[in-house]
C-alpha cells in the first residue's frame, strides 16, 4: 500500500475507517479527499517539475506534503527541483522501510504521541512556510488559508479543511491586483 498509494494521510484514513469496521467505499471517500490535495500541489509545482513526459510522470508520484514544501521553500528553480527530488525520494524510501518495520514490530513500540511525534509535523511545515512569507501576497494567502482550514475543522469531513485552505489564494490575488494597479498609474 505504501508503494502504490504513497499518500500517508490517505493511507491512515483508509486504515482508520476499515479498522473501525467501515465499508471499503466509505474508507475510499476520505482517502480520495486527502489525495486531492496533491492535485493542488501538482499545480504549485508546475514551474519546478520540468523535463520530458516520462520524467515528469515519474516525478509526479513523489508529490507529497513534504516534497512540495521543501521545493517551494527554494527560490531558484534548479535548487527547488533538487530539493523536491531529494525529499520525495528519501521520504519514499523511509516511508516504505518504515511500513515494513511497523508491520514486523507491530505493537512493540509505545504511543508515538508520548514522544511528541505528532507535534513535529506542524513545526516542520511552519519552518518551511516561513521563508515563503516574504513573497508578494503570500502572507495574506497563509492567513486566510489557515483561518479557513481551522474554521472548517469542526464541520467538514477529514481532508476537506486543508483542501479548502487553497481558497486563501483568492484574497491574496485580489491584493496583488490592487497593488499592481496602484503601482501603474
Amino acid at each position: 500500500m505504501s508503494l502504490l498509494v504513497f499518500t500517508g494521510a490517505s493511507q491512515f484514513a483508509v486504515v482508520g475507517v476499515l479498522g473501525a469496521g467501515g465499508a471499503v467505499a466509505a474508507a475510499l471517500a476520505p482517502a480520495l479527499l486527502l489525495a486531492a490535495r496533491n492535485a493542488l500541489y501538482g499545480l504549485a509545482l508546475v514551474p519546478v517539475l520540468r523535463g520530458r513526459l516520462p520524467v515528469r510522470a515519474a516525478q509526479a508520484q513523489l508529490i507529497i506534503d513534504e516534497s512540495t514544501a521543501m521545493a517551494r521553500a527554494q527560490d531558484d528553480p534548479e535548487l527547488a527541483r533538487r530539493a523536491f527530488l531529494a525529499t520525495g525520494l528519501s521520504v519514499f524510501v523511509c516511508w516504505n522501510v518504515g511500513t515494513l518495520a511497523g508491520a514486523a514490530l507491530g505493537g512493540a513500540l509505545g504511543d508515538p504521541r508520548s514522544l511528541g511525534l505528532d507535534a513535529m509535523f506542524p513545526a516542520a511545515f511552519l519552518a518551511l512556510l516561513a521563508p515563503q512569507l516574504g513573497r508578494p501576497g503570500a502572507r495574506t494567502a497563509a492567513i486566510w488559508g489557515g483561518a479557513i482550514a481551522l474554521a472548517l475543522v469542526p464541520v467538514a469531513r477529514i481532508g476537506v479543511p486543508v483542501l479548502a485552505a487553497v481558497v486563501g489564494v483568492l484574497p491574496a490575488t485580489v491584493e496583488l491586483r490592487r497593488r499592481a494597479r496602484r503601482a501603474a498609474p
Binding site: 500500500m1 502504490l4 498509494v5 504513497f6 490517505s10 471499503v24 475510499l28 482517502a31 480520495l32 489525495a35 490535495r37 496533491n38 492535485a39 501538482g42 499545480l43 504549485a44 508546475v46 517539475l49 520540468r50 523535463g51 513526459l53 515528469r56 510522470a57 509526479a60 508520484q61 508529490i63 514544501a69 517551494r72 508520548s114 514522544l115 511528541g116 505528532d118 507535534a119 513535529m120 506542524p122 513545526a123 511545515f125 519552518a127 518551511l128 512556510l129 516561513a130 513573497r135 501576497g137 494567502a141 497563509a142 488559508g145 489557515g146 482550514a149 481551522l150 475543522v153 469542526p154 464541520v155 486543508v162 483542501l163 485552505a165 487553497v166 481558497v167 489564494v169 490575488t173 496583488l176
Partner: protein, 100 residues
Amino acid sequence: MTWGALIGLGLAAYALKAVGPLLAGHRPVRPGAAQVLELVAPALLAGLIMVQTFGGDHRIVLDARAPALGVAALLVWRRAPFLVVVLCAAATAALLRSLG
C-alpha cells in the same frame, strides 16, 4: 481490503498528483499565472499547520501541540536550523504530556 480497491486507490491518488505536471509541464508558465500558483503552497501549508495543531475528531482541540507550535514559531523567528525547530517542538509536546 481487496487488491482491486487498493490498486484503484493507488491509481486515483497518482492521477491527482500527475494532473499538473503532465498537462502543463511542457509549456512556459505565464508570469501572472505563476504568481498565483506561488500562493497555493503558503495557503495550503498554513491550512495544514492549523489542522495538524488544533485538529481533533471534528472539533478544535487545544493540547500539547499548540505550545509546541509556539516554541517552533519562536525558533523559526530566531532562525534556528530546521532540525532544531522540529526536535524542540517534539520535545515540548513530549515534556508537557509527561507532566500532565
